[in-house]
């Protein structure tokens, strides 16, 4: 009779060994650890290199949004809730665009330069409000990209409403894919390692309790500025990359889509895991490509996903999957 049984969930013993003490003893256990990491790396690489050209672009867009989402998640695990990833993205995009257009610098200089300059500019813009927490920070980040659109519209600088067109493209699509894939995995695994290091622990502690962190004699504002720089540099890289990929920069780079999709991806994938947003983005972006014929209705759809995920599935896919992967289930008899 089923009524007399209960489901027992136990962590696999390898989880305990590999989580913190790293006593991996056999190929089987190494495979157990490598498997969930290798599958997406190899899978996305295969897809990226062997799909038809149109879907190659989709994979590139997916990687870009995945990086935006990972950076959003990183900022939120440092206690900074950003509703304006478009700000960082747009600054990077405009920096790369104007360096290329006005100074005629080649791609392999503009993209790294825009990464650093864009990150620096974003940090400088947000520095006065870095003391704010929670929704106050969110409000300011929501306002800023919308304001920058107005500013560009008003002053007609940097191409005004038309934007800057005719920028130099990447040498070929293979190069493009290799760069974005490498950047994505470096960003993801680099941030994961960073946040679990002793230095990264300070960022997490700022989110958990900034008063206590301050009381331990740590200057939280300098750490927040560093986190902001790291997060916004990643977004600025995406912006610069997208600019050269589409050979265009303009007001659409501050669009709501670049703010909302990363958050939606993080909400689906699981906030606070860094890998979850990547999972979320690789579900959402191809899906939105399929739904392209619906136009702006796609954004409505993201909104629905946001609300449903936040209210009904606060855990996210990644948390669920990793829990299932790391535990055994069996029915045991109830005495």
């Amino acid at each position: 009779m089923k009524g007399n049984y209960r489901k027992e969930r136990i962590d696999r013993c390898i989880k305990a060994r590999s989580d913190d003490i790293y006593a991996v003893t056999s190929y089987r256990e190494m495979w157990y650890l490598l498997f969930p990491r290798l599958i997406p790396i190899v899978g996305i690489a295969l897809l990226a290199y062997f799909l038809p050209p149109y879907w190659k672009k989709v994979v590139i867009t997916t990687c870009i949004f995945a990086m935006l989402a990972v950076s959003w998640d990183f900022l939120s695990s440092c206690g900074m809730l950003s509703l304006g990833q478009a700000l960082f993205f747009g600054l990077g995009s405009y920096t790369a665009g104007s360096l290329n257009h006005y100074l005629h610098l080649p791609v392999y200089i503009t993209v790294p330069a825009a990464t650093v300059i864009g990150g620096f500019l974003s940090t400088m813009i947000l520095l006065p409000v870095i003391r704010l927490r929670g929704i106050y920070f969110a409000m300011v980040t929501l306002i800023l990209p919308l304001m920058l659109i107005r500013l560009i519209e008003a002053t007609k600088i940097l191409g005004g409403t038309e934007g800057i067109t005719g920028l130099s493209p990447f040498p070929n699509v293979w190069f493009e894919i290799t760069v974005i894939l490498a950047a994505m995995w470096v960003a993801l695994f680099g941030l994961r390692r960073f946040i679990s290091s002793d230095y990264g622990l300070i960022f997490v502690s700022i989110r958990d309790n900034d008063r206590a962190t301050m009381a331990s004699g740590i200057n939280i504002y300098s750490f927040k500025a560093q986190a902001l720089f790291i997060g916004s540099s990643i977004c600025a890289f995406c912006g610069a990359f997208m600019t050269h990929s589409y050979q265009f920069t303009g007001m659409p780079v501050f669009a709501m889509e670049f703010s909302i999709l990363p958050i939606a991806a993080a909400a689906i994938g699981g906030i606070g895991t860094l890998a979850g947003p990547l999972v979320g983005a690789s579900i959402l972006v191809p899906l939105s490509e399929v739904l392209r014929e619906f136009g702006t209705l796609r954004i409505v759809f993201y909104g629905f996903i946001l609300v449903i995920c936040v209210v009904a599935l606060p855990e996210g896919i990644f948390h669920y999957a990793s829990r299932k992967y790391n535990e055994m289930e069996r029915w045991v008899k109830v005495d």
Binding site: S76, P128, L132, I135, Y136, M147, R150, V307
Partner: protein
């Protein structure tokens, strides 16, 4: 200019009051506020033009419906995630995006979507012509502030509002149900937004983008004034309103949106809790 500044300020105050009410009482930052504003405009428009309901009746109907809608949002969505700031912001922002982008998709754009004014015509004050509608706005803001003051000081629900704003757990022990009152405050905040829409929108056309603009204006006024403080909101809207009018007159109309950002930055640098914010808010914010 003096007159236009005054009108601009009162418009800002009207926009910000609803947002401020909800936030000050239940602590929920209603990012769907701008969407509510636009929806109220369209709802009134369709009541008048498609169902042929008289103007004042349809306004009243809209305000009530939007109020109910707001408290339903609270009941079904916000209540489950109350206290989780990130989730609250994401959920209300998501609602806002659903509403606004859906309206954009359906295609409510164009000059035909505008509400009628109460009384057409204009009068001359201090050498400048002013629509009577704009004078109505000033009158309504004064009325609204008086009503809000009386409501929060002399009615049972109003007192409960202030109770949960000050100390939620203590008010729970005194028999006030915080969830019910918070739903009320959300509903009233949305109803105020609808009211603002009905009063302000006759000045121009209803556009989807004005939803984001209203949200930005309300946010900046509230941040400058100190969130949750009604009189702070009024003072802040006067500061920002006059600053915007001066900028529009002497520099360029495009720069007016920058004014509120600069105001936010200055206030945050000088007095992070806002002009009339309380000590409790200082702790929350910095």
């Amino acid at each position: 200019m003096l007159v236009y500044g005054l009108i601009n300020s009162t418009v800002l105050a009207l926009m910000a009051l609803g947002f401020n009410l909800t936030f000050g009482i239940s602590g929920v930052a209603n990012f769907a506020y701008g969407a509510i504003y636009v929806v109220a405009g369209f709802l009134t428009w369709s009541f008048i033009n498609q169902l042929c309901i008289p103007y004042f009746l349809s306004s009243a109907l809209t305000i009530i419906l939007i109020g109910i809608f707001g408290s339903l949002i609270y009941q079904f969505i916000i209540k489950r995630i109350r206290g989780l700031v990130i989730s609250e912001v994401i959920a209300t922002f998501g609602i806002s995006i659903i509403i606004l982008e859906f309206l954009r998709y359906v295609g409510f754009i164009g000059f035909k979507y505008s509400l009628p004014v109460f009384i057409d015509g204009s009068v001359e004050i201090l050498g400048s012509f002013v629509d009577i509608q704009r004078l109505f706005i000033i009158g309504f803001v004064i009325l609204l502030i008086a009503v809000l003051y009386l409501f929060t000081h002399y009615t049972k629900i109003g007192l409960a509002f202030r109770g949960i704003a000050q100390e939620e757990h203590t008010s729970l022990s005194l028999g006030i149900n915080p969830d019910r009152i918070a739903a009320w405050s959300m509903g009233m905040g949305c109803a105020l937004g609808a009211f603002a829409a009905i009063v302000i929108l006759p000045l121009g056309t209803i556009t989807v983008d004005s939803g984001y603009d209203v949200l930005i204006s309300a946010l900046s006024v509230c941040i400058v004034g100190g969130l949750g403080s009604t009189f702070g909101v009024i003072i802040a809207s006067f500061i920002i309103g006059y600053a915007q009018t001066i900028t529009a007159t002497y520099v360029s109309a495009h720069w007016t949106m920058i004014v509120s950002l600069v105001a936010i930055l200055i206030i945050l640098a000088l007095k992070p809790s806002g002009l009339l914010g309380h000590q409790k808010e200082l702790e929350e914010r910095v």
